[in-house]
Symmetry: C3
Subunit: 314 residues, 3 copies
């Protein structure tokens, strides 16, 4: 894809060279993201950080990533714009807001709203989540986390567990990873929460080894990466409610130490409840806090690419 | 007026030379407002952006305008301060807040509150709207839009339509325009929504040609500028509810192309409902989105004037 | 204490040399806090300003203090994080947020939460108030106000009045002042609102002259500093409700002019209701607005100390 002035709406925009470009640039962001090296490439630029739905941490990540590159941030929070409460269309809102900024990051509960905004705006629009639609920077940071922790995305076994049916993050990550080679996907979830058929079929059509199972523990030993997500128990079927779903699909320190490879990487998009127990936190395998830091790096990389500033790095 | 350290409370503070000064400086802000040229004249200054009433876009405009000049912004949102909820007076709130900033922009639903704040504060206060009182920077940006689009404010026919009775923006704009010469004012609205008598009388006393009418279409051909505002139908009289007020006072692409001058300028303070139909958007005559950008320039000009930095521009 | 990378959780962390270091550095912040001198020592640093409880002014003070030193601020407001609403622990929230910043200031209604955050975070945490727990920067700014107004904290008579029982600020200030010498503490309040016994005993054990009284006026003549706080009348006992508590414990201009030393310093943490009447405002003795400005200086001093930048001042 051509990154300069691009809208970032969907994971489908990215092919392997795009992802490698983002990963390489994200690597270069490491010390800048941590505040060790000062960078001012976005000095004078303004990010309109429009969060029409509560997501404190994503909002802070988009904002801090922009600040680390020297830009200014103009944030909104709250379920709606005051103008929208008066009946204004999203098109009008965006046409006004774009006068105040150089790039828009928008979280909006309405599926498809990011594309509508992008169609209207003359400045680039980054989809920061549009309902059950997409949240591409989350998928990019997940893929980058794998790359940063394992040194590659190819030739890995990834076990995804939890709510694979409704979980936007696992769908998007599976799609992004399908740009790489020799990956074995293990989807370990109760039947009612299994990965949708279209994603399974797409992965198989591309030649990937795909396993669907309700046995997590039996599949932990070969996992290079375990990606856990929250499973909303109120959605469980009658049959499964009788089972101890909690402990079956929970990642614990005991399981990591007794069942997993020594260098397994444990990921979670957070927030979590108890599907990854807190005794995993001190293990070097626990990558879920580092994920947040990688997310900063990925968003910084995207900003630089969108503004055509990636070539200006020293 | 003496701009340095001035409070900006009312359109009545501005005479023609003041307006021309603001317009000239706003012109110079054009490339800076768009992020093409970096300016740091307000480096180190802090704007306290106090919005005690929801107005997302005005708040963002005040903030981005300050950022474009290199300053820092400290914003509040929400209907009230937590301290005010405990019974604190506005005077105390302002006396504390001014310790944290160099200038205050305040939106407050209480009419007259801006003057109270200005009386108490040692830093300049900009009225960002005080209920049914004033919102002077909106009027300034409206007047500047006319100047930017037409190259002058003198010698024009402006047709204002919609809710001219309760609409704060049209009252203030009419007052500001009365500083210029040879303007014909056409006020096209249902009888119940006509411009208040005191404004009509004031304009006539100053020698302006003023027409009040409920016929919009018949008066479009001579208009250089059409300024449309929202008309709240629940306020219509019994008699008018029977009429198709919507289409009578709506600006459509067909009307612009068939009834108006080729270079007519269509303005609206936004948000709109359907009083300007969306098919007008692509026409070069549609100035309502550009208005938002002009608003940035005007607010930047005011900041520079208040801080006495207008002479420091390169 | 070792300031660099320190968490600021409690007033108990500070001994006399620590306080003198903070005071001296706060003095140096005076012109920078007022925007007279530009300082960029925190350029590139990010403050995560987490206010999980409404406190507009404290939030603005923490933010502006950081801006005055050239840093960037990433603020949250609202009663909770969206992730916490989904059941996330404070530990997880902090472990994510710290990836986005270099220092965290947190207001949280849960007592003890600041220490929990500090234990988890690798970046310094400043307690901006944790329920009925502590709010150490408020106490520091109160003590600094005394030092700035009187030139010393030693050898003074301070009269504290209002709600001394539940008032967090007076407890913390008394503790901090007990690091100095030859102070006479007069606690003037209704019996039901007197200072807790453990604080009285602690002050007496350290050799201070302590008086508890329900007679404010009779003790005003010897006061060098009067520290007034709000008294919630709904908490008054039956017996006291009959009395005119309002006027007994109110500070008025007449009392200041007729009963007090000419150079008495009147303080109040604000917001106030009528326990200090507004006719005191114009008197040079009224220090309560200046307190807010001193608060900026103290927070700036703490930021510089935490980042080890205090030695870099010119």
């Amino acid at each position: 894809m051509e990154f300069q002035n691009a809208d970032i709406i969907s994971v489908n925009q990215f092919d392997r060279p795009d992802l490698e470009k983002v990963f390489t640039l994200s690597d270069q962001m490491r010390e800048i993201a941590r505040g060790k090296i000062r960078n001012r490439l976005l000095d004078g630029k303004i990010l309109a950080n429009l969060f029409l739905e509560a997501s404190t941490r994503s909002r802070m990540s988009f904002a801090s990533a922009f600040s680390r590159l020297g830009g200014d941030v103009n944030s909104t929070t709250g379920m709606t714009f005051s103008s929208m409460a008066k009946g204004e269309s999203l098109e009008d809102t965006i046409s006004v807001i774009e006068q105040y900024c150089d790039v828009i990051a928008m979280r909006n509960p309405v599926t498809g709203s990011a594309q509508i905004a992008a169609d209207v705006a003359n400045v680039p629009v980054i989809n920061a989540g549009d309902g059950i639609g997409e949240h591409p920077t989350q998928a990019l940071l997940d893929a980058y986390t794998i790359n940063a922790e394992k040194g590659r995305v190819d030739d890995l076994t990834i076990t995804m567990t939890g709510d694979l049916k409704y979980g936007r993050t696992v769908h998007s990550l599976a799609k992004l990873m399908s740009n790489f080679d020799d990956i074995k996907f293990v989807f370990a979830a109760p039947d009612d929460f299994q990965m949708p058929d279209d994603i399974i079929e797409d992965l198989r059509a591309k030649g990937f080894d795909v396993m669907q199972t309700d046995d997590l523990d039996g599949n932990l030993p070969e996992a290079d990466v375990v990606y856990s997500t929250r499973l909303q128990k109120e959605r469980l079927s009658e049959a499964d409610r009788g089972k101890d779903i909690n402990s079956i699909f929970q990642i614990t320190r005991a399981k990591v130490e007794q069942l997993c490879k020594k260098d397994v990487t444990i990921m979670h998009p957070l927030p979590r409840n108890d599907e990854v127990s807190t005794d995993v936190n001190p293990l070097p395998n626990a990558a879920y806090y580092r994920q947040a830091g990688y997310g900063m790096q990925v968003r910084m990389a995207l900003y630089l690419l969108i503004f055509g500033k990636d070539g200006d790095l020293e």
